[in-house]
Structure formats: structure tokens, C-alpha cells
């Protein structure tokens, strides 16, 4: 993680300066509310501090901050902020420790009950499962605070805070509450993460997964109030967790 705050970015010229630094990647004639095109905004910007905003020729890394991972554990995808994960964890395989809520995981991790090298799985925290797809900030902050982000990954159908750091893969879709494969993981299953290759896989044979799917019982979400409404209508993270007009 870097040392700069948003104030440092502002002093270095802010978003207009960032736009100037990636000028060749922009669709220059896109309109903005300023009345100028995005190209004009970029061209008019002042950008001189290349320690805060690097150039395309001398980037901090050659590829972007976010990565999408696909695989049999996330058929509709998942997200990781790889710029905030230590590179030695970008490729990792470990045994799953499964929890059905953030609170359950937090209690065990805090008590030292998770082996370094594991993959902590927190499920039923998606748009429907939460409901509301909570941010898993508590557990990611505790794991980081305990030094576990150097050795231990996290996989969830919940979200993260913008302040989350570590090898944390979230927004897994489809979510467990809607029958996504995250619902089928058991303690001890091996999970394989390969961020450069964009892969997130559960190393369990298909026939075993099918057997588990037959035995799976979906949870009962709330029915009252705004959360009942939300759980009834929300789509998975891969669709932006929007509400559809009516359930099918």
C-alpha cells in the first residue's frame, strides 16, 4: 500500500492530472458536465509530480489495480484489489476454513483459530444472503492487523470497504444464497487462487460438487421491511446488485 492520501493526489493535480497521464488511453471527445470534452480537460491539466502520479512509461505496475477472477468457484466472476495484495500471495493454494457470516469468522480468527496459509471463506453475505452485501471490513482489518494478510487469503460473496487491503477476493457471483458454488465449499477443501491468470477455483471433482448440490438447502432470508424487499429483488454482484422490478 502506498503512502499518499487523497490530499497528496489533489496537490499533484488531482483527477485532471491523472487523465493527462493516461491521455493516449482516453476516448478524447467524450462530453463532460464542464462543457469541455474529457480530452480538453486532460490537455488543460497541470501534471508535474511524477512521484505521486506516475507516467505510462514508468508505472508502478504495468497493469491496473483491480483484477477479475473467474473459475468454478466464481462462474460469474469475483473481484480483488491486487494493488493492495502482497505479490507473494498473488498465486496461492490452501485449505478452506468456511464461515457462514462475518461475525463467525471474526471470532475464530481473533482467537487464533485459523492456520496461516488457509483460505478463509465467508459466505451468505451477498446481496440476497446478507441481505445487503455488507462490507467485510472488520475481518479484513483484523487479519491485516494480525499479520495474516502475508499468508492467508479470504474469499467472500460479500463486499469490501475501499480501505480493505490484503489477498481478499470478494463479490463472488453467483452468491451462496442463490445456490452459487460458494455454498458447497467444506472445511479442508483446497482452493486455488491465481491473480495474474485471473483464476479462482475449488479443487473438488465435479461429481462430488453435484452430490453436495443435491444435499444443499437454501437459507430463509428476512421477509419484512426494506431488507425483506431487498432480499426479494436483488441481483448478484455481477449484475451490480441492482433490484429488478419484480422477482421471477
Amino acid at each position: 500500500m502506498g503512502p499518499n492520501t487523497i490530499n497528496d493526489l489533489h496537490s499533484a493535480g488531482g483527477i485532471p492530472a491523472v487523465l493527462k497521464s493516461i491521455r493516449s488511453l482516453l476516448k478524447a471527445d467524450a462530453l463532460t458536465v464542464s462543457g469541455k470534452t474529457i480530452g480538453e480537460v486532460a490537455d488543460a491539466a497541470e501534471w508535474s509530480d511524477t512521484r505521486v502520479i506516475h507516467s505510462l512509461e514508468d508505472p508502478i505496475r504495468p497493469d491496473g489495480g483491480l483484477a477479475v477472477l473467474w473459475g468454478n468457484l466464481a462462474p460469474d466472476g469475483s473481484l480483488v484489489k491486487k494493488s493492495a495484495a502482497t505479490p507473494k500471495m498473488w498465486v496461492h493454494e490452501g485449505p478452506a476454513r468456511v464461515f457462514d457470516s462475518m461475525e463467525a469468522a471474526t471470532a475464530v480468527v481473533e482467537a487464533g483459530g485459523v492456520e496461516p496459509g488457509s483460505v478463509v471463506v465467508i459466505r451468505y453475505e451477498g446481496p440476497v444472503g446478507g441481505p445487503g452485501m455488507r462490507e467485510m471490513q472488520m475481518i479484513t482489518a483484523i487479519m491485516s492487523g494480525m499479520g495474516l494478510s502475508e499468508t492467508t487469503a479470504l474469499v467472500t460473496d460479500g463486499r469490501f470497504s475501499g480501505s480493505t487491503r490484503g489477498p481478499c477476493i470478494g463479490y463472488v457471483s453467483p452468491e451462496a444464497a442463490l445456490g452459487g458454488p460458494l455454498a458447497l465449499v467444506e472445511d479442508g477443501d483446497r482452493i486455488s487462487i491465481d491473480i495474474p491468470a485471473g483464476k479462482l477455483d475449488l479443487l473438488v471433482p465435479d461429481d462430488e460438487l453435484e452430490r453436495r448440490r443435491q444435499r444443499w438447502i437454501p437459507p430463509t432470508p428476512p421477509t419484512k421491511g426494506i431488507l425483506g424487499l431487498y432480499a426479494s429483488l436483488a441481483q448478484s454482484a455481477a449484475q451490480g446488485a441492482v433490484l429488478v422490478p419484480a422477482c421471477k
Partner: protein
């Protein structure tokens, strides 16, 4: 003692949370006091809400005086008057659900210990009541208060006069200059429009339910008693948090009956039926439409308020307000007295020292305007699940009649026909596909009724709809017809020229057609296509229940019928 707000203020795991409270400028003392959410529905588009910042400030002063920490947050609100007669009115009833949901989200999102709910107008007050019983954390409602009546041509007038003026103008009874002069006189102050329309009805209901302090229904907005009321509300909520007095402790079935009885005695808006049904739903009290009729039949009608009569809210207030009405009803045993309220005392204790101060405004139960209440629920082959009419606002010659159906599939078509002189004496204007799902949003049909009266047809033409009416509606106007047209209710099967039989004292609304003919028409019927395919109204029309259920939104996926 553990408090709800400790979830966000106490313990090492809440360090970051406290950082954010300190960023808000709070002190450690603030954090160890009850956190009181002050829901402030002030905005610059509703005259009844334009002054709510001063009410909210007074409420916060009360909270601080009593040792609580007030934390203000906003709520939205639609001006039903400005929304009347166009697409805006599709959003009015739907906004009630949005406000309820947003108050739930804010109260639970931050784990407030209690709420002061600063409200005033039509859909905002019911939303606050619904949110209070849904959340069931200590809550108190404080309203902004009614507008004063205006003066035009030597008469006291309210907004209804200007709505009816459109019809007067179309009939040549008013010049353009007179119309302009009237417009600028009918709404002289801040506050909710001066008649017993829906806003004032619901603020009176909040008081009668026990969730607002005495005086909440009637003290005029410009009267400084409102500021004292708000301060007292702020002080009361802190005590209620300490004693854990919750909305569902107050809003019991008996409290609801008190509210309905008061409603019938003063001739409140037909919308009170929808909203009280919805409050009952959120409080998980099983209440049917029948309850309103049973109570109406046994409750004397004591106050003839605009639109049914001459008096405005300032007169009801001067006469003793809701406490005087409830005291008078209690003389006939029609009020449950031993119920808790937000004053910390019972209903009986609250009204004990009250008397009627203006007997021509609030009649005695021994000499009521009528022996039964303002509203009636009708049933029949046109309204198997009921229809609602404000019988106190129906001219006696219209109470029992047969009329000729003139059928329209939207409010706009009906208004054009009325103002275009195409409606005859003896007709009944039927406006359908304006129900909760069909509208969508169950629009208020004030313009058709006001236009009829303005054209001089108010005593000779009835109106029937699966939509709603405004609290300002008067005339033989039957609404909330259920099931609605888009769901295949019999109102969808009417054809131009059908004979409709209305018997309000007999509680009947029928079309003179055989069951076989109705069945034949039903077999051939197809609904109109849905009017909203995207956005909030699409979701609303997919999920909203029928008028006889209070038009609440339900979530069917998980079997929550």
C-alpha cells in the same frame, strides 16, 4: 444498562466508529448519552414543510435539555397539491413506502436509540407512523401544523376553493382576474392546507394514536405553541428511551380503534383508511376494512370541517382540538382510556381536564351532525373487496340513486369530458386503471371531483374509481374500489351506459347486470398493458398490494403474502 447505540459507540472494536463521531464534533459525553435520530422532512417544495427546520431545531433543543444527543437527518416529501392531476400524482402514494424504507435504513444503519419524527404532509406523516411501528424503537411524532385559512371576497377559503375554481372558470362563473386574485389568497401561510384534508387528518391520527403530543393535530403552524410542542417532544423521547417505551406498546388494536373513532367523529380524509390499514400491517395487528365501518356506524359525527363544512383547523384548535373530541366521545364510552401515550400518561389522563370550548365547532355527542361517522365502506358486485366514501361530504339527495356509467380508463380522459361539458346530470363518472398497480400509484382524483363541482354538477353527478381521492374531495365520490381494474376487478368490466346502483346508507355499490353477463364480459376481458416498465414505479406496481390491504408493498419471493 446496554443501549442500542452501544453497537456503534462502545468497545475497542468500535474505535473507528468513534473516530467518525469525533469528526462530527461530538464529545465523549455526547457519545455516552442516548443517540436520538431527528428525522427532518423540511424542504422547499411543500408549504407544510417549509418551516420544519425551526420545528426540528426546537426538538433538538428539547433533546439536549433532557440529556440526549440529537442527530438530524432528512426525509423526502411530495406536495400532493403540486403533484395533483398529472404524472406527479403517480408518485405520491408510492413515496410513502420510499420514506418508510429510508427511515428504517437510517435508524438501523446507525443504531439510533430513538427517533423524533418531524413531519407534516399527506404521505410523510403516515410513513413516519409506519416506520415507527416497523422499527419499534422509541419514537415520537411532531408535526409542523396546519396553515391558516385565507380570505377571498369576504369569505374564509382554503386550497380547495382554487381547485374548484378551475371548474368555475370553465363554466364561465369566474373571470381570469378573479381566478388570479383567488389563487393568491387561498394559501396565506406556511403549514398544511387549512381544511381537514389528508395531512391534517393524519396529524390528528398521530395524536389520537398516542404517538404525538396533545395539540399535534390542530395547533396552527404559525403559532409558537408549535415550538414548545417540539421542545417537549424532544424532552419526552429521552425519557422514553430510558424507560424503553416503544411504538408497539402504544399502537395497539385499542389505540387504533381510538384513532378510527376520532377519524369518524371529525370526518377525516378517506386516505386515513389506507394509511391506518398500512400502520396496522407494519405493527402486525390483523385489521380488516370492516373495522372502519363498524366503528363508523357507532360513532357520532361531531365536527363539520372543510371540505364537508365551513370550519378550518384553526377553529377545531380553538374549540379544544383532538383532546376535546376524544373527551366528548369518551362520554359515550367510545374511547379506550387506559392506554399509554408519548406524554407518559394515559389517554384518559391526557384528556381529563379538557372541555369543548366552541360547541358550534365540536358538537356534543347528544346533538351530533349525524349519528354515524364520516366514512362508509361499501360492498357489492362492483366492489367485492370494498370501496370507501366520505359520506359526511355527500349531499343527502345523492346518498341513494341509480346512475348511468360514463367510463374512462384514465383521469385525464375524465377531466376532459367533464370540462368539455360532455357529462350529464344523473351520470356516474367511472375512472378505472388508476389503482395501486394500475395507475400505478393510485392517484388522487381531486381534479375530476373539483371540476364537477365547479361546473355546477356536484349535486347531480357521482364518481367512482379504483384510485383515491384527496382529503379535499367532496361529493358522491366512491374510491378505493377493490379489486382494481388491472387485476380484473369488476370495475374493469363496466361499459358505457351500464346502470349503477348506489346506496350509501345501505353500504352497497352494484351494477345492474346479471352474474352471467358479468362472467361473459370477464371471459372476454384483457387488461391494459402495464404503464411503468422501468424505474421506481415499475417495482412499485409489481409489489404493491390492494387498497383494502392499505396498498403496502409486499415481497412475495420468500412466501410473505
Amino acid at each position: 444498562m446496554t443501549r442500542r447505540s452501544h453497537e456503534v459507540t462502545k468497545g475497542p472494536r468500535r474505535s473507528a466508529h468513534r473516530s467518525l463521531f469525533y469528526a462530527l464534533g461530538m464529545t465523549e459525553e455526547d457519545l455516552s448519552s442516548p443517540l436520538i435520530g431527528v428525522v427532518n422532512a423540511a424542504n422547499e417544495i411543500i408549504p407544510g414543510h417549509m418551516h420544519l427546520d425551526t420545528i426540528a431545531d426546537a426538538a433538538k433543543a428539547g433533546v439536549l435539555r433532557a440529556g440526549g444527543t440529537p442527530i438530524e437527518f432528512p426525509a423526502i416529501g411530495i406536495c400532493d397539491g403540486i403533484a395533483m392531476g398529472h404524472q406527479g400524482m403517480n408518485y405520491s402514494l408510492a413515496s410513502r413506502e420510499l420514506i418508510t424504507d429510508s427511515v428504517e435504513a437510517m435508524a438501523n444503519g446507525h443504531q439510533f436509540d430513538g427517533l423524533v419524527m418531524v413531519t407534516n404532509c399527506d404521505k410523510i406523516t403516515p410513513a413516519m407512523l409506519m416506520a415507527a411501528v416497523r422499527l419499534n424503537i422509541p419514537a415520537i411524532v411532531v408535526s409542523g401544523g396546519p396553515m391558516l385559512a385565507g380570505k377571498f371576497a369576504g369569505q374564509s377559503v382554503d386550497l380547495l376553493a382554487t381547485f374548484e375554481a378551475a371548474g368555475n372558470y370553465a363554466a364561465g362563473k369566474l373571470t381570469a382576474e378573479e381566478l388570479m386574485e383567488m389563487e393568491q389568497s387561498t394559501c396565506p401561510t406556511c403549514g398544511s392546507c387549512a381544511g381537514l384534508f389528508t395531512a391534517n387528518s393524519m396529524n390528528c391520527m398521530a395524536e389520537a394514536l398516542g404517538l404525538a403530543l396533545p395539540g399535534n393535530g390542530t395547533i396552527p403552524a404559525v403559532d409558537s405553541r408549535r415550538l414548545r410542542l417540539a421542545k417537549q417532544a424532544g424532552m419526552r423521547i429521552v425519557d422514553m428511551v430510558h424507560k424503553n417505551v416503544r411504538p408497539r406498546d402504544i399502537v395497539t388494536l385499542e389505540a387504533l380503534e381510538n384513532a378510527i373513532s376520532t377519524d369518524m367523529a371529525i370526518g377525516g380524509s378517506t386516505n386515513t383508511v389506507l394509511h391506518l390499514l398500512a400502520v396496522a400491517y407494519e405493527a402486525e395487528l390483523g385489521v380488516e376494512l370492516e373495522l372502519f365501518d363498524r366503528i363508523s356506524q357507532r360513532t357520532p359525527y361531531l365536527a363539520k370541517m372543510s371540505p364537508s363544512g365551513e370550519h378550518f383547523m384553526e377553529h377545531l384548535d380553538a374549540a379544544g382540538g383532538i383532546p376535546a373530541v376524544m373527551k366528548e366521545l369518551s362520554r359515550k364510552g367510545l374511547i379506550h382510556l387506559d392506554l399509554p401515550t408519548v406524554t407518559g400518561k394515559t389517554v384518559g389522563e391526557n384528556i381529563a381536564g379538557t372541555n369543548i370550548l366552541l360547541p358550534n365547532v365540536i358538537h356534543s355527542v347528544d346533538a351530533p351532525h349525524r349519528p354515524d361517522g364520516g366514512l362508509a365502506i361499501l360492498r357489492g358486485n362492483l366492489a367485492p373487496d370494498g370501496a370507501v366514501v366520505k359520506q359526511s361530504a355527500v349531499s343527502p339527495k345523492m346518498l341513494v340513486q341509480e346512475c348511468v356509467a360514463r367510463v374512462f380508463d384514465s383521469e385525464d380522459d375524465a377531466i376532459n369530458a367533464i370540462l368539455g361539458g360532455q357529462i350529464n346530470k344523473g351520470d356516474i363518472v367511472v375512472i378505472r386503471y388508476e389503482g395501486p398497480k394500475g395507475g400505478p400509484g393510485m392517484r388522487e382524483m381531486l381534479l375530476p371531483t373539483a371540476s364537477l363541482i365547479g361546473m355546477g354538477l356536484g349535486e347531480d353527478v357521482a364518481l367512482m374509481t379504483d384510485g383515491r381521492f384527496s382529503g379535499a374531495t367532496r361529493g358522491a365520490a366512491m374510491g378505493h374500489v377493490s379489486p382494481e381494474a388491472v387485476e380484473g376487478g369488476p370495475i374493469a368490466l363496466l361499459e358505457e351506459g351500464d346502470i349503477i346502483s348506489v346506496d350509501i346508507p345501505g353500504r352497497k355499490l352494484n351494477v345492474k347486470l346479471s352474474a352471467e353477463e358479468l362472467a361473459r364480459r370477464k371471459a372476454a376481458w384483457k387488461p391494459l398493458p402495464p404503464r411503468a416498465r422501468r424505474g421506481y414505479l415499475a417495482r412499485y406496481s409489481a409489489l404493491v398490494s390492494s387498497a383494502d390491504e392499505g396498498a403496502v408493498m409486499k415481497t412475495p419471493r420468500w412466501g410473505n403474502e
